[in-house]
Subunit: 317 residues, 2 copies
């Protein structure tokens, strides 16, 4: 599908809904709000449905209009942003019941679940794809739209540090800075500042950190009780997996977190530094992601989950 | 002094020495090596004297030529980079005995101690000043020079996150990326990766963290014993002060570190988030730095040093 065809779909649609993936990060929330503002500049009145997202994104323009659900059953058009599969899409019922659907994403594991799919796995962030699309449509990237886009770019490039970060990413950021987007303020809000609860969780994760396989693998965890004890809110566990990855010599960091219901199901986060494709490892457990950052859901006790993961990781270490 | 005059000084000098500040960070080492490579491209053979610097910078081109001292007593020209005062300059005797001296720096507290001083306090890094100077002199910024310059820029902008980061910083980084400079690799080496010793020190700093003044100030410390216990090397304490600053709501982070000789002298690092000018606070104790990052040396026990600092900080909180 070409960008011109996508534009036609948008133009002819009366009711539009914007959706994104569960556990929404900065690229999910940022791309949704940027798309909302861009469509509004075309005279549309899209709904953004995100049932739950982290406090830190509340400073973004348009968050007050975000809905938890909608009375509209059959939207003319549903747009899925930054989401690889229908299973991970929040409000997937609106997508399934929409007359036409568009998927815009940058995950290599995207299974093209829309009527029209615009997927660029080389792009470091869905927000960077949107920047290109808005430019193509001659939509003015205002300071507000720019703030949303930058939020996604900063989140998904780890603050301009991941290898996928392109020269265009830096040039686009320079452009946003010149437009008055407060880059350092957004960086501080979405990536640097941590909650007290996060700080307390980080202490636990560091105290429990096991350094394995001659220093090449780290393992740590938090359970439901830990999160209750520190009063953790959604998003407070974000970034904890990086505490292991950043130690000199570590290739794979394993961080597991007990599921909210307190069951023996663990949300696994893997990060790698140079060569292990953790997306492939997570695929073995029905998960996925990017080569250097991926996730899955694995059943068992903490020790069992650790063993299962280590077994697969050792094969590619 | 104009850039043309500086260029004439360089052109007519036979022997040149490049010096930088004690406890050299990425901007100190990066600017020294970038200057060395640039002068070599003009046919000069400068000495770089840095008696001690962190392991993480050893990947930079030219480190094997760095000298701890020199037999040359009276250099034709001494260039001080990234250093605010003669007192902080390593190898200051070479500077004092040189026939002519040039100071290039970006610290607002620079006291213009050279014969010629080129100081731009608005620039986020000394390396960014050098980029402009090299461009003016038509010196080709090779991949090697670019890697050195980027090291300083990444260090002193905190990885593109501090408010002083300019649109030019992002554009220059885009340019370097296009020249083949491995931005993400350099970022990982100089800012993201931490040693095992740093990780162990961070655990101690976090366990001891006091959150004071209604959450606006944090205090933590390490002493000589801590560093011995974890086998800390020079540079392993870098960044520990940020653990407090990054907690939501914190305006000033205080981190103190006992002097190497185990005496009751503490090296104080202060960081602020939005409004407290910590450079002013450190000036009260004979130190200095930037508005959001500064340091000083304060005598007393841990509790005494903490009290002295808190007293001054409370006045501006």
């Amino acid at each position: 599908m070409t960008l011109d065809e996508i534009f036609k779909e948008i133009q002819k649609s009366e009711s539009i809904v914007i959706l994104t993936h569960e556990s929404p990060d900065g690229d999910a929330v940022g791309s949704s709000l940027a798309m909302k503002l861009a469509l509004e500049s075309l005279g549309k009145k899209p709904d953004v449905i995100i049932p739950e997202y982290a406090e830190i994104f509340k400073f973004l323009p348009g968050t007050k209009d975000i809905k938890e659900s909608s009375d509209v059953k059959n939207y003319d058009l549903a747009i899925s942003l930054d989401c690889a599969t229908l299973k991970r899409l929040m409000g997937s019922e609106y997508f399934e019941n929409a007359k036409r659907t568009i998927v815009i994403d940058h995950h290599g594991s995207n299974n093209m679940f829309g009527d029209f799919n615009y997927v660029n796995p080389v792009s470091p962030a869905c927000c960077e794809i949107l920047a290109g699309i808005f430019d193509y449509y001659n939509i003015n990237i205002t300071k507000e739209i720019g703030s949303c886009l930058l939020t996604g770019i900063i989140t998904d490039t780890g603050g301009f540090k991941y290898p996928a970060t392109t020269a265009e990413t830096f040039e686009f950021t320079a452009e946003l800075l010149r437009k008055g987007v407060n880059v350092s303020d957004i960086y501080r809000r979405v990536l640097q500042t941590v909650s007290r609860a996060h700080f307390e969780l980080a202490k636990k994760v560091m105290d429990r950190m096991e350094i394995l396989e001659n220093g090449k693998v780290t393992f740590s965890y938090i359970d439901k009780n830990d999160e209750q004890e520190v009063g953790a809110k959604p998003g407070d566990h974000e970034g904890l997996v990086e505490l292991g990855r950043d130690i000199d010599g570590v290739e794979v960091s394993i961080f597991i977190r007990q599921k909210e219901d307190g069951s023996d199901d663990y949300k696994v986060s893997l990060r790698s530094t140079e060569y292990v494709n953790v997306s492939d490892v997570c695929l073995m457990f029905g998960g996925g992601g990017h080569p250097r950052a991926a996730g899955a859901l694995v059943s068992g006790t903490i020790e069992e989950v650790k063993k299962k993961l280590l077994k697969e990781i050792k094969k590619v270490l």
